[in-house]
Point group: C2
Chain length 415, copies 2
Amino acid sequence: MKNIFAEIITIGDEILYGQITDTNSGFMSQALDQIGIKVKRMTSISDDEEEILTALQEAQQRADVVLLTGGLGPTKDDITKKTLAKYFNTKLVEHPEALQMITDYFEKRNRALPSNLRTQALMPQSCEVLFNRLGTAPAMWFAQGGKAVVSMPGVPQEMEILMNEMVIPKIISLFETPVIYHKVIKTFGAGESMLSQVIEQWEDALPPHMKLAYLPTWGEVKLRITATGADKASLEEEVEIEVQKVVPLIQKYVYGYDRDELESIVGDLLKSQGKTISTAESCTGGFIGHLFTKIAGSSAYYEGGIISYSNAVKMSQLGVQSDTLDTHGAVSEQTIIEMAEGVRKKLNTDIGVASSGVAGPGGGSPEKPVGTVWIAYADGIKTSTRKLSLTNDRLINIRMTSYIVLDLIRRKLKA
Amino acid sequence: MKNIFAEIITIGDEILYGQITDTNSGFMSQALDQIGIKVKRMTSISDDEEEILTALQEAQQRADVVLLTGGLGPTKDDITKKTLAKYFNTKLVEHPEALQMITDYFEKRNRALPSNLRTQALMPQSCEVLFNRLGTAPAMWFAQGGKAVVSMPGVPQEMEILMNEMVIPKIISLFETPVIYHKVIKTFGAGESMLSQVIEQWEDALPPHMKLAYLPTWGEVKLRITATGADKASLEEEVEIEVQKVVPLIQKYVYGYDRDELESIVGDLLKSQGKTISTAESCTGGFIGHLFTKIAGSSAYYEGGIISYSNAVKMSQLGVQSDTLDTHGAVSEQTIIEMAEGVRKKLNTDIGVASSGVAGPGGGSPEKPVGTVWIAYADGIKTSTRKLSLTNDRLINIRMTSYIVLDLIRRKLKA
């Protein structure tokens, strides 16, 4: 079986100026990876005819499938459609069905069709039009000599639905694809170099068709095993054997696999143990609550929380003693204990967790520099605390504290 | 003056597999843009010698500056350093100062230097070593024939400090750069096509050295004017004249400029009016609180909030009547009014805002489908409410609701 390669081209000055972050490329490459197609290269270029023509030509030489996003809007800087017509030596014609879709789109919203939007129904004559049910720009599928070029709108939601519902099925029907199998082991609380030392011997002994990669982010390291072969079932089995060897070496850091997220793992533990939880947040300001509630179904275990940003709210809503605040300050072990125990009692839950710290960039002192954070876990039997020394960056401190609190809950529930 | 072009190459299988989102490219291009260097192309490739050599060669043909990130870690899949040594036909030698930095890095953390980390001090002989004070991988600066190639670690924090403190100053001293001036007008609450119709005549009359782009995200559209010329002061003046013409046409949607964020604009308004605020969140689960508290200094106006995820918490902490919940449900105008007024009173603030909705994907009904959200704003004189009909996506609903609440606060404070 022949390997199928893809390239991704994202078009838009806003990407090159750094004004938006390109998340489309990642989504498309994940979707291609799922069907065994390897992305060789991702390229971002500007809304410029010459750039688009050159990049497309280069990509078509290297790859079987080229996916493009961006430049399909109704405004003057959007030139992808007419550039593709030029590239494929075809002309733009009004597409009756596309026009109908656009008209319906505005009718459903009780708005008149803006005159400039009629151009959205002009499509290159030689392409297959893929309809977009979220917006006014249809996608285009060009097939030529066993290769495909697909152009989609840059709005992530629109591209994602088009990929899932139309583009991926069409790619599968056009190519016979090899098997790539990934397994990701997710760890929290250990550094990359520490892990790599512990598992070095195992890594060196991996069979040649398997590859290991370390993907570190703040507090978390993902270990990705990638295996290539012809048969999915045997690859899965072979990788599973390796997973069984390596996980015992790093057991206490492993919180999950593949698409597991710490927030849903913690949710599953709470649900399976029938426990409820509440949050008392100072420096994290609601972010721990957000991590709980971004998971669908979290109402089964998450009751709610108090964002006690000011000392007044710490006292009035959580029952923190003014003496405690006066003597030890808001960022202290004594305060964090009263916060966690207070929210647990106030919201009548099995567990209460709390955060209080100097998120920065201001507010630090020699004794409590920026990045000093206290967290606590109260379950009615014992209240555990931990002092963290994080970074100088406010947002990183908020995020890291929140995930460290989740990991603390996980370890407590596992104990 | 000659235009200076740059290209950015990010290296890492994890990017091509879509397992991490590349935010480094955006940061680097913003930094280059600030000094008038235009990024022509961004490319992501895998940790593969051949790919790195080819991409680098191509980029060097088109650009004056090539920035690379990634592949500098201590693990086996990191091959950027030795590939660069090959590309520049030089060898790797142990760099005493680099070794010292790495040794110090571990000493400061009271940990022994892991044996595999000694290789981090091997550097290509012909490069200038740029030290990284956050991690163990130094950056490399190669200058050749008036062009530069810079290789930096892929960890965003490390790359950012290296860019700001060393790479950008070195680029400025190597090149004479032209002037590119951007002005971004930020709007909330109007769609791209609606805005483009309203300002079409103005857009058509823009002078040829100015370009307009629309950057839509959910609920928000940024209008970016880009002007190119020789002199910054006159560009600024010319762009300002255009801004003065266009803003009155779209006044009520404009919330700020350039790096203004809705959350800080709202914070500034609260601060300047000496008002305090609190939040009562159900479907947004703490995200509005997070938007307030991610802004440094928000303790001047944000007292805190109640995350009333369960009905029990809505009643016990906010004083919502059980009758109201029984008769109208948690997602209703009556409940949202009691929530906003309740938190305002309970936390003793000038303003209280609230959210309650069906975030999805489950929990919808014919009467209240997924995406139905109520928001409220209470200031002690009048309580205003708004019903939203959003999407089927849980996270988008959480984010959009939170930003629409911020925009509601902005409009109320401006009224």
